[in-house]
């Protein structure tokens, strides 16, 4: 018992443990400034169509953020289940945009995460950078090659039906005229964020 207490005290004494630090990091994202106002009512969790799939519910994630549990929050699967439906956001009595919190958590986690979701969002971004627009077949093929090339076979049947319906095209995508502008936007963003 005494030993455990000593250990806790030691953790608290460490400079690394500063609950405010993680909040500050999140504060840099627009729209996530109200986390402190959370009163743990759980309306977000109750409104979420996918909270039953999450190991840590949205309500719990907020409390973990405030406790400064950065590593645990970023390792959780919660944000990868957010479908951005904003049900939590419009119902939160404290005006917290949980959807924005989830975007922010994904963005931070994405820098190191090695899961399917992270690969998908990165591939999506690469496709937009390349052409200025989304191209489903290009996205799905690159995504499969990045994650599991065998999954292309699994996607095959639906892909073929999409082609037949003219909902997908295998032709080489043409970049928009302003593709150079898009490239410049990406560069400028990297420059501005690199400083942060």
């Amino acid at each position: 018992m005494e030993q455990a207490e000593a250990k806790t005290l030691e953790v608290i004494r460490q400079d690394a443990f500063d609950p405010a630090k993680f909040l500050e990091e999140l504060d840099a994202f627009p729209g996530v400034d109200k986390i402190k106002n959370c009163m743990q009512c759980g309306v977000c969790t109750a409104s979420c169509p996918l909270s039953h799939e999450m190991k840590e519910t949205p309500r719990k994630i907020i409390e973990m953020i405030r406790a400064g549990m950065r590593d645990e929050v970023l390792a959780s699967d919660t944000m990868w289940y957010c479908a951005s439906c904003y049900a939590c956001t419009v119902r939160c009595p404290q005006g917290i945009s949980m959807a924005e919190v989830m975007y922010a958590l994904r963005t931070i986690a994405l820098r190191t995460a090695r899961n399917l979701s992270a690969a998908f969002y990165k591939t999506f971004s690469d496709t937009v950078r390349r052409y200025g627009r989304m191209h489903e077949s290009d996205l799905m093929i690159r995504f499969a090659l990045r994650t599991n090339p065998l999954s292309l076979l699994k996607m095959g049947p639906l892909g073929l039906r999409m082609l037949a319906k003219g909902k997908m095209s295998l032709s080489v995508p043409t970049p928009i005229r302003g593709a150079k502008e898009i490239g410049k936007l990406y560069e400028k963003v990297a420059e501005l964020e690199g400083g942060a």
Partner: protein
């Protein structure tokens, strides 16, 4: 940018060609998987007296994928489209819920977060553009309901879809997080439009429950479940078909219906069509031109008696 300007200058002023009502931002889906949404939207709005002009050289809004990948970029990409809309001097019309929410997110930023806003402005400056405050962004469903109005729709109807039972499915990103529609969870605009063209709107409590959107790619199992629930309610309520206003919803409910049936042992055969396809058809536009054949679950048999 100069290209857009030259084009505008070359446009004959007042010489027979009226200024369009809106700049139309179609978004990537309406140019690929959801072409029938594009065509039925543009054509039925034209019949109703609203002209749309596609935004020249628009780029992908980034959708929720960019919001999840890079914060600043997720504002900068849609901001380019808004800046070009401002250059054109018209309000923007959007038909895709995902684009709608993403573009509106920039507007919300313009109104609130000054320091971050200037960062976004800096990225635009790097490409020689600027965004001067928020841009008026309207969902096409909102425009049809408010600017056209139910009376005008009733007047223009050529085929009343009497007896057609429709479940109105709005999806999540149209009425949330902003509150421009009648209710963030139970909006009624599409219901009223469908009734104005004679259809019978069935009760549909899941009208804004999420279909999972792009999570179909990364979390397929649970998203199939969400869509099974959506189909189940429509079936239980006796709907002949589901009307939607978002390409993600349409894709998930329609293209994956077969997979849902084999996964859950169900036998759904519910066509999932855009409300504009029904609207255009009711306004007398050609069934083929409305693209009913592009759905995976055929809708034809429900429309035969009105053709």
């Amino acid at each position: 940018m100069s290209e857009t300007k030259t084009k505008d200058a070359a446009r004959p002023k007042g010489a027979g060609e009226a200024k369009p009502d809106f700049v139309f931002f179609p978004g990537c889906s309406l140019h690929s998987t959801a072409r029938e949404y594009h065509d039925s939207t543009v054509q039925s709005m034209a019949v109703l007296g609203i002209t749309l002009e596609e935004l020249d050289d628009w780029n992908c809004c980034g959708a929720t994928a960019l919001s999840s990948a890079d914060s600043l970029l997720s504002y900068a990409l849609p901001a380019r489209n808004l800046a070009m809309t401002q250059e054109r001097g018209l309000p923007m019309a959007v038909a895709c819920n995902s684009c709608f929410v993403t573009l509106n997110r920039v507007n919300a930023l313009m109104e609130t977060d000054a320091p971050y806003r200037s960062k976004v402005e800096e990225t635009l400056k790097a490409i020689g553009r600027r965004l001067d405050g928020p841009v008026e962004i309207r969902h096409t469903l909102h425009i049809i309901y408010h600017d056209v109005g139910l009376d005008r729709i009733r007047e223009k109807v050529k085929r009343r879809l009497e007896g057609l039972k429709v479940a109105p499915y709005y999806g999540c990103q149209i009425a949330r997080p902003r509150h421009e529609f009648s209710d963030p969870e139970f909006p009624t605009e599409m219901d009223d439009i469908l009734e104005a063209i004679g259809a019978e709107v069935v009760r549909y409590d899941r009208k804004t429950k999420c279909c999972g959107g792009a999570l179909m790619t990364t979390k397929e199992d649970v998203v199939l479940e969400l869509n099974e629930q959506l189909l189940r309610e429509a079936q239980v309520r006796g709907a002949d078909l589901i009307a939607v206003c978002c390409p993600m919803c349409q894709m998930n409910l329609d293209a994956y219906q077969g997979k849902i049936n084999s996964r859950f042992g169900t036998d759904y055969k519910l066509p999932v069509v855009y409300f504009t396809q029904l609207l255009g058809f009711a306004l007398g536009l050609d069934e083929k031109a409305m693209g009913f054949g592009r759905g995976f679950v055929p809708a034809g048999k429900h429309l035969k008696k009105y053709a």
